[in-house]
């Protein structure tokens, strides 16, 4: 797996995080170049936060959310769908491509499904390669980190 790719998972605290912690306890293998950000509900994420992830150099973002009917607060996943639909259009305009933003829904017991979604997402982004529209500073910063490592 390509270590240079930055993948971000935005994970709802309830069902998806339960799946994630169960998957970790069961020692299921998960992609390494992955950062997980836990939020109380996917409805808390707005378009700006998803775009900010790309601005800060993410190559792919996956939203891990509850099934529509399971949301603890009510409209969370539906807000997720709306945000993803709109941000994808902007990503398309920017030439980043809408495949870099993925949305998956889980029930509390689906730890294998979560692990396999993360893997297929990581493979998909590896196939697409790095995000072409990283801001200049972000690009320079990453190159500096690479140089230091060498």
């Amino acid at each position: 797996m390509d270590k240079d790719l930055n993948l971000l998972g935005i994970c709802c605290n309830w069902n998806p995080y339960a799946c994630y912690s169960a998957a970790s306890r069961a020692n299921l293998p998960m992609p390494r170049n992955f950062r997980l950000m836990r939020v109380m509900c996917i409805g808390r994420i707005n378009q700006a936060l998803i775009l900010r992830a790309f601005e800060m150099g993410a190559d792919g973002v996956i939203l891990l959310e509850c099934k529509d009917e399971d949301c603890r607060y009510g409209p969370g996943p539906e807000m997720g769908h709306t945000n993803v639909r709109r941000v994808r259009k902007i990503l398309e305009l920017l030439g980043i491509g809408q495949e870099r933003l993925v949305e998956r829904q889980f029930s509390a017991h689906e730890k294998e499904e979560l692990a396999s979604s993360l893997w297929s997402f990581a493979e998909e982004i590896a196939r697409l390669g790095p995000n072409p529209a990283k801001p200049r500073q972000e690009r320079e910063r990453q190159q500096a980190i690479k140089r230091e490592a060498v």
Binding site: Q47, F54, E55, I90, P132, A133, R139
Partner: protein, 389 residues
């Protein structure tokens, strides 16, 4: 950095703050002050000169300003307030980070910064229809600006910013110009410049200039007042070899109309015209839009209480500091427009359209006395122009 920095003394001198008489005309005309915000340009000038140790007040005020320029229009001493604010923001952002509450959580600034990527391949021309004739290379370019992005982002409030771009190309085609539309045009950087992000602004300028040059462009036509301001005033300062001719579309239309042979179809309507700050006060274009509206037969133009160079702001600039006070300014503006009994408000800036439409869509007061149709001037003209004689 402390505010004792000698660079601030230089800014105060360069922008004539020492000329301040403390007459208070600035604060008395500031839309932010008049809607009740604790912000005063006069006090800011006083503190900078006499009480520089009040850092919290000075820093807050610098980020609070709308940079609409109404105060400097009224100032009898010629204090360049908005330029001072621009320089202060650049300095403070460089040392203390970007401040100011960013509207929409900074989503717009995010994509503006993403455009500093040299390798991006945008897909931004999907809105072109087959009857619009454009080219990839040529001497004249039309700079579209943020319209394709606004169209997606502001879909929720139904502002059709893309119609401005379509109408502009239609008008240019009418004048036998096939404009170059850049596939990888970047944001003009206006909002980054005015929110203190000088570094990214300069990158965007260089990228846009390089794209235009490689398409063989000699003249850029713009329909957006902010883009026009950046191209005519700020870009040449960033790029010393800048040699593009910059034209504002409405000026060009006015010139073409004076030449004769064309006319507008009649429109029986009462309208009022809202002057965008970047167009009226910053670029000094006040007469042309009114003359063009005057050329449309049967159209009657009614001026609002504040118009031309003393026109009220649309409440927001650079997508920062949108708050209840911005809304009050917008509501005040809509009230002024409705008081003229006009059936529609014509404006020439997509952002004025967005901000004023947003104020009308208050869920509590929807359908009340705030409703007023907003029409873009270019769209109105493009629909009605025809050859005559």
């Amino acid at each position: 950095m402390s505010l004792k920095d000698p660079r601030i003394d230089k800014m105060i001198g360069d922008n004539s703050l020492y000329m301040c008489l403390e007459c208070g005309k600035c604060s008395a005309s500031c839309p932010r002050m008049l809607t009740g915000k604790e912000y005063s340009p006069r006090l800011l000038a006083h503190k900078l000169i006499a009480e520089r140790n009040d850092e919290a007040f000075i820093e807050n005020s610098v980020w609070e300003c709308l940079t609409c320029g109404l105060c400097e229009e009224r100032c009898p001493s010629g204090v360049a307030v908005s330029n001072f604010i621009l320089e202060m923001r650049t300095l403070l952002a460089g040392s203390k980070g970007l401040k100011g509450y960013r509207a929409h959580d900074g989503a717009l600034h995010s994509w503006m910064r993403m455009m500093t990527s040299p390798e991006m391949e945008q897909d931004r021309l999907g809105w072109l229809t087959p009857e619009l004739k454009t080219r990839e290379k040529g001497p004249v370019a039309y700079f579209v600006g943020c319209a394709p992005y606004f169209d997606v982002f502001f879909a929720g409030i139904q502002v059709d910013t893309l119609s401005i771009a379509r109408s502009s190309v239609k008008l240019l085609n009418f004048f036998d110009i096939e404009p170059v539309l850049l596939k990888n045009e970047r944001c003009c950087g206006h909002d980054l410049l005015w929110t203190g992000d000088r570094d990214n602004f300069e990158t965007l300028c260089r990228l846009n200039y390089a794209e235009l040059k490689s398409a063989g462009v000699e003249e850029v036509i713009l329909s957006c007042p902010e883009g026009y301001l950046v191209f005519s005033k700020y870009m040449p300062k960033v790029i010393p070899e800048f040699d593009l001719k910059v034209t504002f579309l409405l000026n060009m239309v006015a010139e073409e109309m004076y030449r004769g042979g064309k006319a507008f179809k009649p429109l029986r309507r009462k309208v009022t015209y809202h002057d965008p700050c970047r167009l009226s006060r910053k670029a000094g274009i006040v007469e042309e839009p009114r003359k063009l509206l005057g050329m449309v037969p049967e159209l009657s133009l009614r001026e609002m209480e504040s118009w031309g160079k003393s026109s009220l702001c649309c409440g927001n600039n650079g997508f920062i500091n949108c708050d209840a006070y911005s809304k009050k300014i917008q509501v005040e503006r809509i009230k002024q427009a409705r008081a003229t009994r006009a059936e529609a408000m014509v404006t020439a800036c997509p952002k004025c359209m967005i901000h004023l439409t947003c104020a009308m869509r208050d869920p509590v007061r929807r359908g009340s006395d705030r409703k007023l149709e907003i029409v873009d001037l270019i769209t109105l003209l493009a629909e009605r122009i025809e050859y005559k004689g």
